[in-house]
Symmetry: D2
Subunit: 338 residues, 4 copies
């Protein structure tokens, strides 16, 4: 499914990224909705399938071409975030939300909604209890889909929040530890990582005397033993644990190295194609369709697709006047050296 | 330490790559010997610290700037390979090798030696029993170092071999399964992967009834469970297992997607900076300093360093006349899209 | 800490057992309160430190010698259960409980309270919302201790319940899957076992072809691979997972084999002495101090201590007139055969 | 399959035990050859299917009723040992053994052969290179079976050896670390346990600060985390690792507690019935059929079968005149306390 990670540099610059894992194509590699970089200028009318609104802040991110549904994005205030699948997500009916004085929103539009409405995590926290997820599928072409979702947002203060619509459509709010994956609910993961308390970035390098009879020497000069016990599969809890331990044991880095360091942590979460299949006959595999990384201070984004090595990059243009769709490169951009 | 992987496309084109994990810098990020792309033309005199030789085949690869010691490389016949640390490596004295009718070679020069002497894995196998590792340190500046090493080579027939100098300097030869990491010896790893026989690329997707009392539903829609039990740490055996299962469960791919698919498997083996430290006070961390990938059919190579997202690329130039050193880019080459 | 397991035979007879893991002695092996088999007849006055009550049902079980605090036990209706440490346990003040119309009970006396008040799990469920844990330490000698606890009970219908005082002293009620260990809360464990959905009692016995390049043969004739990935440590989540998978993959058994089969599952949960230490200087180790097993239909109990192989056994005597304390044997009772 | 473990008490008394895991019955629970305690007096003629011999030392142990094939046993010199399945075992032809000046022995009779010929591990080591396994099946009733086997022996000096007939029927000899299970070969296991170098008997008990963002508290008061990463399944390598870490992290114990401590370590290796099946239709499960434990100094043995809690015990009787078969109790011997 998906993983998102937030990192801060020595200077306090904040970097946010996510993988998009899915069993449908996004760049022509399999049937599915094509993705672009979607830019929504401040003041633009956002064509919601529920109640259109005017963007207070400009935002850009990866979204379905032709729609305003961002999968992830950043706004001109340096707030960034994404949506991911959460099986425990709940929706409520319009009347139910109304009775509870909750403004109805669509999950698929919620990243866009937040980025075009709020400037910071603090603002989100101050207002999130006014909203609830409506039980209304999103229409795309001939299809109507309602995806169970949760959300995370981070800002330039390195504050980060996880929002889970598990209270009958209303949101449970968690302080983020900088990582979000998929089910189960966030508090389960927060407990789960405590099981790994004995893992460490320091490696046993010398002979360990276990008893009179048994002494153990590290194999291969003692590298990597500190993380022994880290799970290597791609289920949601395992990606959560790996991402948390990698992100939080990185060496300090400077801002100019931020996107590179962010990507270095994500490698462990990126799912190769073919590894997760439903059955022999299923042509589709759940794999990482793209990675996107955001520099929150510079309002820049970087995207690498499953189709090539190229990193497409874009800086948010505050002068833009209308919603635009920019193609993401899928080939192998490399630097030929001679 | 290091990981190497060989993949073949649907058409049978072969791709070979390696990570270089080390506790010293290679691109200015930490003290250490700088690396370049080294090109050795056919007919060139190779300045060995033992017995200089004339290159029969042209070769290029990553090597210490100013030396002819390739860490990994490809030759004009489409043979590629690398060297990696193996603690169980043995060296023999000159007299000992002479008595056994073995030609002395230096481990650090052995990748270069093989790529400039042989055209295929079959040729290597036919001649490897004529050679033995000499117990003579390599001199670099003021330092003399003898590194315990083993080697792997692959060719365009998708044949691959592992060479381990564990027989008192002579080589034990193993058919490669397309993956090599570090200690212990190769046959240990070949047994170890059999422990993981129950892992699969197919995921349980539906409720599993364990007993009258216990039924289990997959969390998060059932992705990734087939690989449950895969180790996630970066020790040599764990990297071997992960790389083997990822490389061998990939969807079939076409040659034009080869470098991208090769890289997609390597992500699991690339060690972020900071994760493997000797102690709190040690400024160095054992991490992936670079990744290199080779297209054996096209005689092209791609290198990504730990310092940036850029992939430097080079095609072997058969017209080259002398040994050359080409800089590897360390910045973040991206495609700005607007 | 502790593990409890409930099993049913083919005929539907029910067996309940628990390990008592603790860092203090219970049978003279280390400093600590000595344990006996405590029998409380129906009609006896139970000397609570809060409000003494009259036992409606006779009960027996393991308890601190001289007290009426059962750690585990069975009553004359075939209801059995135990208490275990749960760090998330909450207590409430007397006034708070009164305001909520909850009858105050002491956690340490709660197993005794339930066994002498209720005949079945259904009865417990019907009344548990009338009670809450009082924030009042238990006095034993010169010490006052308040232990964070949770509880499980099973009856002869093979119904089982877990009671966790995590709602400000009031109880959250969970249908038991037949296993309880320690923290975190029960619903966390119920989610956690779903991570292990790919584990199976059936073993891969033949060569597995992973790819053209890799085929794996089972080592040692293919036994045990179905459970590959099962955690082997003694933390609470790992004991929960192991106990659940072992208990629910047992072959069907007849009632006369019940105690033996119950014990066979418990072996995986019993902690040897020395394995869990706070530090080099700490003379105490958290280990299994005793195992007790109950035949709910026969109202019999069996106890094995950490000090010897002997299983002490006792049948509940309904004719008993007063609270009695019976010594548990600590030696090695064996059958000498000649 | 099987596990054997050797422990020494504070005083230096030595205890040896083994589990017998098998997919056939041994005590009437499934079809199979019934087992007894077999006693062979010094001076007795041992009815080998190859070359009968005279016992130099008296021995007793568990064996097939009516045969002299011991699965495990102890002799009057305090030497004890067992046989277990090893898939890599090799047999040689009579002529081949003869050419190599090796005395032919049958694997199934080899424990008996060693116990009735040798007084110590040192003696075994001094003579083991004189023997080789003959490629001749053992005849039992209408059946002829040749089982691939390896062997371990321990003596009262706490010396222990592993003998593996992997050199074309001749034995490779390993110093034992006190544990033996099944395939692969012993040196593979000796390397494998080094992967677990970071495991420890000391538990993290306090909050661990991983980074500014992430601090981890132990769940359930910090018990068991030191062994996090220990594998929990019943494959041969996993049983080897668990047994090694448990046996070598035990608290020191006195000799009178030896059999009890030996058994406490074995619990982790004992396989419940039903957990390892070939298929749904296979009525047999590979499970622990019996456990036997030996006090080498007292020449006493203890056996617990899969059919009941009883420990049968026997002391080697040096006055015995002929080969005898003693029944092993299968019921639930307990101490009724009142």
């Amino acid at each position: 499914m998906c993983t998102s990670i937030t990192l801060a540099s020595k200077e306090g610059n904040v970097f946010f990224g996510r993988t998009m894992d899915f069993a449908a194509g996004m760049f022509g590699e399999d049937p599915g909705s094509p993705m672009s970089i979607v830019t929504i200028p401040a003041g633009a009318q956002v064509a919601s399938q529920l109640n259109p609104w005017t963007a207070k802040y400009a935002a850009m991110g990866v979204g379905s071409t032709g729609t305003v549904c961002l999968m992830d994005g950043v706004n001109d205030q340096g707030l960034a975030g994404d949506l991911q699948v959460l099986m425990e997500c709940e929706h409520a009916s319009a009347s139910d939300l109304q009775q509870r004085n909750l403004t109805a929103v669509l999950g698929e539009e919620f990243v866009t909604f937040v980025l075009t409405h709020f400037a910071s995590v603090a603002e989100i926290k101050a207002h999130i209890n006014e909203y609830g997820l409506l039980d209304q599928p999103l229409t795309q072409g001939n299809e109507s889909v309602e995806t169970p979702l949760h959300f995370t947002f981070a800002d330039t203060t390195n504050s980060a929040v996880v929002l889970e619509p598990t209270d009958n459509g209303a949101f449970k709010v968690y302080d983020s530890i900088g990582v979000m994956t998929n089910s189960p609910e966030y508090n389960w993961h927060l407990t789960n990582i405590r099981n790994y308390i004995s893992l460490d970035k320091f490696d046993p390098k010398t002979t360990k005397k276990v008893s009179e009879r048994v002494s153990l020497d590290p194999i291969e000069a003692g590298t990597g033993y500190g993380m022994f016990g880290l799970p290597g599969d791609y289920t949601s809890p395992s990606r959560f644990v790996r991402s948390t331990f990698l992100a939080n044991n990185l060496d300090p880095f400077t801002a100019d190295n931020g996107i590179n360091q962010l990507y270095s942590v994500f490698r462990t979460a990126m799912v190769p194609r073919g590894l997760e299949r439903a059955s022999q006959d299923d042509p589709l595999s759940d794999c990482t369709r793209y990675w996107s990384g955001y520099d929150l201070n510079k309002k820049e984004m970087y995207v690498q697709t499953c189709r090539g090595l190229t990193f497409s990059a874009k800086k948010l243009n505050p002068q833009s006047q209308e919603v635009t769709y920019t193609d993401i490169e899928i080939d192998n951009l490399v630097k030929w050296v001679d």
